[in-house]
Structures are given as C-alpha cells and as structure tokens.
C-alpha cells in the first residue's frame, strides 16, 4: 500500500525561538523531494518531525496508507527511514551495520545475506563488508548510511544533507545512487541540501525552506 505523508500547519520552536512556522505539504507521488534553504532555516527540524523523532508544538503529521491514517507505532516507523548527517555507524563490520535494520525485523539469515549483499554492491562497499565501519572514510560512511537505510526497503527515505561533509567524488557516487533510485520510480525520497545545483540535478519536486516557512519553488 502506497504510503503518503501529509503535514498540516506544523509549528515548532526551541527555547522560544521559532524553527517551523505553519508548514503544510503533502508528499503524495513517488520521486525525489528536495528541500533547500540556508543553514538554520529549519530543514533538519522538518525532517525530524516528518520521521516522528520529534513532535510538533502545533499542527499535524499524518501518514496515510491508502485512504487510512497509519497509526504511529513501530510498524509505521519501519516503513520509513532517516539517514542522519552524522550517520551513526555502529562499532561493528560494514556487513553488520548494513544488516542491522533487517536483524531487528527478525528477517532470516539467507534473506539478510542477499539483501545486504545487494545494497553493499549498490553503494560500492562490497569489498569492505568485513571491515570495521569506524575505519571507513567519511564518503564511504555516508554510502554505508544509505546502504543501511536501503536494506530495509523503506517506502519513504529521508536524507538529511547526504553530501554535506564528503568530497566531490563521493558526492557524485551518492548522487548516482539517488538518481538510480529515482529511475526505478518505486521510492519517495525526501532530502535536504543547501547545494542548489545538486537540488536541480536530483529533484522531481523542489521545496524551499526560509525562516521556518515551507514553500514550493
């Protein structure tokens, strides 16, 4: 069932300082939604609220599965994934990092092997599957973060500044992964970036965050 996200009049502030002002939007169609805006404009806050890590002060965040509102439970959390800017790799092998989401879902060993092999191939990390993930370069770490998220086949994938701290070579690799997913047309990807040329290269739908306000470009 196609998962859709609808934000209605979402507000959020920290210590009295507004971060999001009356944000409303519906993520209905599959494709790449790119959220641009300056640092501190509220992009990451919006992603944390979209992924239910944080609650808005006011307004509503609803996921729809078909026509029904999906209840906010672990079942819903397992249909979406956020790749954080710092990734948060576990002190374990690249394989076990990529397998994490599958293991906690109780998938069988064979299926885990197959899926992890596929995503590590996709992210160009298959040669490093037995390396400790903490020894990867920042670009490889970013790719591992993507691979780890893709392994669980999320219906909506959220990426918070996926290329902010990596070199141009790795940026190109990450962008190509996103473009390949876009071609498949099976995913909704919601990503933030402050790199306008990158936003133009990747976006099907461009959104602009300005001082906590969300608008279409």
């Amino acid at each position: 069932m196609n998962l859709r996200l609808v934000l209605s009049d979402v507000w959020k502030s920290y210590n009295g300082k507004p971060a999001l002002n009356a944000c409303s939007f519906s993520f209905e169609k599959n494709g790449v939604y790119v959220l641009t805006g300056h640092n501190g404009s509220g992009k990451s806050t919006l992603l944390r609220i979209c992924t239910l890590i944080e609650n808005p002060d006011k307004g509503e965040v609803h996921y729809f599965s078909g026509d029904d509102i999906a209840s906010r439970d672990i079942g819903l959390m397992r249909r979406i994934t956020l790749v954080l800017p710092g990734i948060g790799v576990f002190n374990n092998t690249v394989f076990n990092n990529a397998a994490y989401g599958l293991k906690i879902r109780g998938e069988n060993k064979k299926e885990i092997e197959r899926k992890v092999h596929d995503v590590l191939n996709f992210a160009g990390l298959i040669d490093k599957k037995n390396h400790n993930a903490l020894t990867l370069s920042s670009g490889e770490t970013q790719r591992l973060g993507l691979a780890r998220a893709l392994a669980v086949e999320p219906e909506i994938l959220f990426l918070d500044e996926p290329t902010a701290s990596i070199d141009s070579e790795n940026t190109e690799i990450v962008e190509n992964i996103i473009l390949d997913m876009k071609k498949e047309g099976r995913h909704k990807i919601v990503m933030t970036t402050h790199d306008m040329p990158q936003a133009e290269r990747l976006a099907d739908f461009m959104l602009l965050m300005e001082k906590g306000r969300l608008g279409k470009v």
Binding site: T51, T81, G88, F90, I104, R105, A133, T135, A149, V152
Partner: protein
C-alpha cells in the same frame, strides 16, 4: 638480606612444585572473587543500563551514591556484613559468618558500586547519534537499549575487569567476615597478612608473586580491551 633471598627461593620452589596448600588458596581466592564478580555483573550491568537509559526521580542521587561508594573502605564493608551475619544480626540465623559465602557477599558489596559506576560511564559515553540511528532504522525502545549497551561493550568489560582487580587485591573485608580459617576461608591476601605476621615469608612471597602475576594479567586484559575499543580492527 639472606632471609629475603631464601624466601624468594623457597617461594619459587612452592610455585613450581604445585604445592597443594598453595593451589587450594589460589583456587579459593579465584572462586570467591569470581563468584562475587559474577553476581555483581548479573545485577550491576542491567542496573547501570537502566540508570543510563531511563530517566526517573532520584536518578542523579543514586548515581552520586554509587560514585561515593566506589571508595568504600573494605573494612567498613566487612564490618557491615559482619554485623548483618553475626548471631545477633538480622541474618544471623543463616549461619554464614566465617564461610566463603560471607566473603562473597562482602566482596560483592565492594565491587557493586565500582562496576555500576564504570558501566554507567561507559553507557552514557556512547555517542547519542547511535540511539537516533537505531530508532530511524526501526528499532523498538528495547532494541535501541540493547544496541547502545553493545556499543558500550568495551567500556563495560573494562569496568568489570577493574572491579575484579579490586576484589583480588582486597584483604580487609574478607578477613573480618571469613576469619582466615586454614583450608576453608583462607585466601591469598589474608594468607599473606597472616604468614607475614608469623615470619613465614616463603608462602607469603609465593602468593605475592602469584597475586602480582594475576594483577598483571588483569591489567593486560584491561589494556587490550581498551585498545580494541579505541582502534577498530581492519
């Protein structure tokens, strides 16, 4: 000087001849401290995880108390257990005083705050992004807690080993509650104290050497674990 050299010579003879009395004392020391450590680990590691991952009233106070009791003098712990287990004490009916069980209880009381404090530090030291990453990948609150504890595994092992080191070297508490009964409650440290008093240095030196060797092993293990935690293997 000669008596010291003679003492060392005889000590090595005792070690290499695998003297039965010596082996019995070593085995009892390891059994008492090992059992105390096992009990402390089973209770202390989950408790330290709870203290680190759950917020509840008086959590800070509890952690402060644990940190304070890290420096609990062994004789005070021994005195407390003695009073509890003595005939007039509330647990006197169990008749545990001057038994290895009493020594295990005293050592567990000593090791508990050390293990809890060090394990708590290890768990709160895990980068908060690990928790977020775990949640965003679909982990339940319990799975997230297990993931954080796994990330702290090297620090937790260091805490447990540090507690074991303290127990192996401890003398005050087990002397008070164990009574240093030959062949029953006599362990390495209490034997060293007794034999030194008696002027029988051979056994005391032999046990001192073995205690140092065990201490070296413990510290090497600690160093190895800390290194492994710092530098992930390729």
């Amino acid at each position: 000087m000669n008596s010291i050299i003679e003492g060392f010579k005889k000590a090595f003879e005792l070690i290499f001849s695998l003297d039965a009395e010596l082996l019995g004392i070593i085995f009892l020391s390891l059994r008492v401290s090992g059992t105390a450590l096992l009990i402390v680990s089973i209770i202390g590691i989950p408790l330290s995880a709870f203290l680190s991952l759950k917020k509840f009233p008086a959590r800070g106070l509890f952690i402060s108390v644990m940190n304070t009791f890290m420096g609990l003098p062994p004789v005070v712990a021994g005195l407390f257990v003695y009073m509890m287990l003595s005939r007039s004490g509330p647990m006197g009916f169990m008749e545990l005083l001057y038994t290895p069980t009493a020594m295990i209880i005293a050592q567990a009381i000593l090791a508990f705050p050390i293990a809890v404090s060090l394990c708590h530090s290890a768990i709160v030291g895990v980068n908060p992004i690990i928790r977020q990453a775990s949640i965003t990948l679909g982990a339940t609150p319990f799975q997230t807690s297990v993931t954080i504890i796994k990330e702290a595994r090297y620090g937790i092992m260091s805490g447990v080993i540090a507690a074991f080191g303290r127990l192996m070297a401890e003398v005050g508490a087990i002397l008070i509650v164990g009574g240093n009964i030959a062949g029953y409650t006599r362990v390495m440290t209490t034997t060293i104290a007794l034999e030194t008093d008696k002027g029988n240095f051979e056994l005391a030196i032999a046990l001192g050497i073995i205690l140092l060797a065990i201490s070296l092993l413990i510290n090497s293990a600690l160093h190895f674990i800390q290194k492994k935690g710092e530098l992930p293997a390729q």
